[in-house]
């Protein structure tokens, strides 16, 4: 576990150089600048932070360094998942904080949309679960293409989700969800957990015999 701590510390040290970029994005995508669409930050900001955090080890030299350490490859993968999870939590908290700040700034009533926050967290975990196996499977060039595709997917998904939330068909699902909110959330959380575990196993398999 000591080695996982060291690896996670490395991930957070590497993301530090993007602090100003992230601060700018946090302001631009939040309700401070996006008065009509304060939910934009919930999809774009965590996605950006996740991509930056994972990409820090995309270079072959970085992966050679990691593999030269006395740490098994599956533990290298596990540390990446844990770091990414913490980044998602941090991003969702920052997004919530920025929207609080925008509510205070414009004199709006401060409100906490729990469904949006938890929904964002779970969807980002699913996004991470799709993204990480590509990271471990592809070489640098392939991974750079995936980065671009993933950013576009996040932007498109934000628009799609906004439309779905107002669509009448989706309202039916929402009502069913709200009839049994506890069970529904448990189901979603377990499903997200299952997707994450499958993703981890795929990543371990992809990375286990990859030549660096």
């Amino acid at each position: 576990m000591h080695s996982i701590g060291g690896l996670m510390k490395k991930d957070f040290l590497l993301i530090r150089r993007f602090i100003w970029l992230l601060a700018i994005y946090a302001v631009v995508f939040s309700g401070i600048m996006q008065k009509e669409n304060h939910t934009l930050i919930y999809s774009l900001f965590p996605g950006l932070l996740l991509i930056l955090g994972i990409s820090s080890d995309s270079q072959r030299s970085a992966q050679q360094f990691l593999v030269s350490l006395p740490v098994p490859r599956n533990r290298l993968v596990l540390s990446k998942y844990l770091s990414s999870l913490i980044l998602v939590v941090a991003a969702v908290l920052i997004a919530t904080g920025m929207n609080f700040a925008s509510d205070l700034l414009y004199g709006h009533p401060v409100h906490l949309d729990l469904m949006l926050i938890v929904g964002t967290f779970l969807s980002m975990v699913v996004f991470m679960s799709i993204y990480l196996p590509f990271f471990y499977w592809l070489g640098l060039k392939g991974f750079q293409v995936v980065n671009v595709v993933m950013m576009i997917a996040i932007m498109v998904a934000n628009g799609v989700m906004t439309s779905l939330l107002t669509a009448s068909d989706f309202r039916f699902l929402q009502d069913r969800f709200l009839e049994q909110p506890g069970l529904s959330w448990i189901f979603l959380i377990l499903l997200t957990l299952l997707v994450s575990v499958i993703s981890y196993l795929i990543s371990c398999r992809a990375f286990r015999t990859r030549d660096l």
């Binding site: 040290l13 590497l14 030299s61 970085a62 740490v71």
Partner: protein, 288 residues
């Protein structure tokens, strides 16, 4: 006692193949891994460090199975890569903080000594360091956790002569207690002339030889003579042969035998490691 035992190692990748390579690295000595560019030296080292999976064969380091299956054996290895593998955007100090957390025997005092000795500024970013500084940093990290085995991939390439000499002196100090081992790959044979005890020569993915430096130099002989001495039988005695209009010069792996064949008709002298590598790489083909 062996530090590293390589058995039947084969690997095919990118139009290159390591073929059934087997050799041992004795404990307590410096072994040089030599060969021309593209011979397979780096691939061998990467297999030892678990970066590449062999198609066949096995490697044992200090009795533990090495490669992708395990990782604990690397705690006793100091590794210096041929390229910078550390994060460019971090400072030397930040990189050290990350690195040391993985090695229980990390010695902060020793690291500071190496920083002073190599004149490395701890707050400088790795990307702003010269190639020499990066190599020195890699060496400082590798040595500061008191490894039993030092594996280095072309550590002197691109270094100035002053630091190259200093590095070779460091290696000689490192093995003084006869319990620690060094394996370093290079195509600069002059480095091995100075410090190596054993030489393992890899050529086109195959093992040419693996012996003590003295045995290699004693066994091989450069022979010079007139073209009349060459026929289909005597040509077979040479590892590599260079013919001109006036005569020939060649390398044999059995000097005493060729001396008994040619007697005083030819001239003989002891080859250097560079000569052995040169003629072995050129092969038995006659060339000008």
């Amino acid at each position: 006692m062996t530090a590293i035992d390589v058995q039947g190692l084969s690997k095919r990748m990118n139009g290159f193949a390591l073929q059934q390579v087997s050799f041992s690295v004795p404990k307590g000595y410096i072994t040089g891994l030599i060969g021309p560019n593209g011979a397979g030296k780096s691939t061998l080292i990467k297999i030892m460090m678990g970066m590449v999976t062999p198609d066949q064969g096995s490697i044992t380091i200090h009795g533990q199975s090495a490669g992708i299956a395990g990782a604990a054996y690397k705690a006793n290895i100091g590794y210096v890569s041929d390229e910078n593998i550390y994060y460019d955007t971090l400072t030397l100090g930040e990189m050290k903080e990350i690195f040391k957390s993985f090695y229980p025997r990390w010695d902060e005092g020793q690291f500071k000594e190496y920083l002073d000795r190599f004149e490395l500024p701890v707050k400088k970013k790795i990307k702003d360091c010269s190639k020499g500084m990066k190599t020195k940093f890699a060496l400082a990290l590798a040595l500061s956790h008191h490894p039993d085995l030092l594996i280095m991939d072309e550590p002197t390439a691109g270094l100035d002569p002053i630091f190259r000499r200093e590095l070779l002196e460091l290696l000689a100090e490192f093995i003084q207690d006869e319990k620690r081992t060094v394996l370093f790959s290079t195509h600069l044979t002059t480095d091995l002339d100075k410090v190596a005890d054993y030489i393992t020569f890899i050529h086109r993915g195959k093992l040419a030889f693996s012996q003590t430096k003295e045995e290699i130099l004693e066994r091989h002989l450069i022979v010079k003579g007139s073209k009349e001495l060459l026929d289909s039988d005597t040509r077979k005695e040479f590892v590599g042969l260079r013919e001109t209009d006036f005569g020939f010069e060649g390398l044999t792996a059995d000097g005493s035998r060729l001396q008994s064949i040619f007697g005083s008709s030819a001239l003989y002298h002891q080859p250097t490691l560079e000569d052995i590598m040169y003629y072995t790489a050129k092969g038995g083909k006659a060339y000008a």
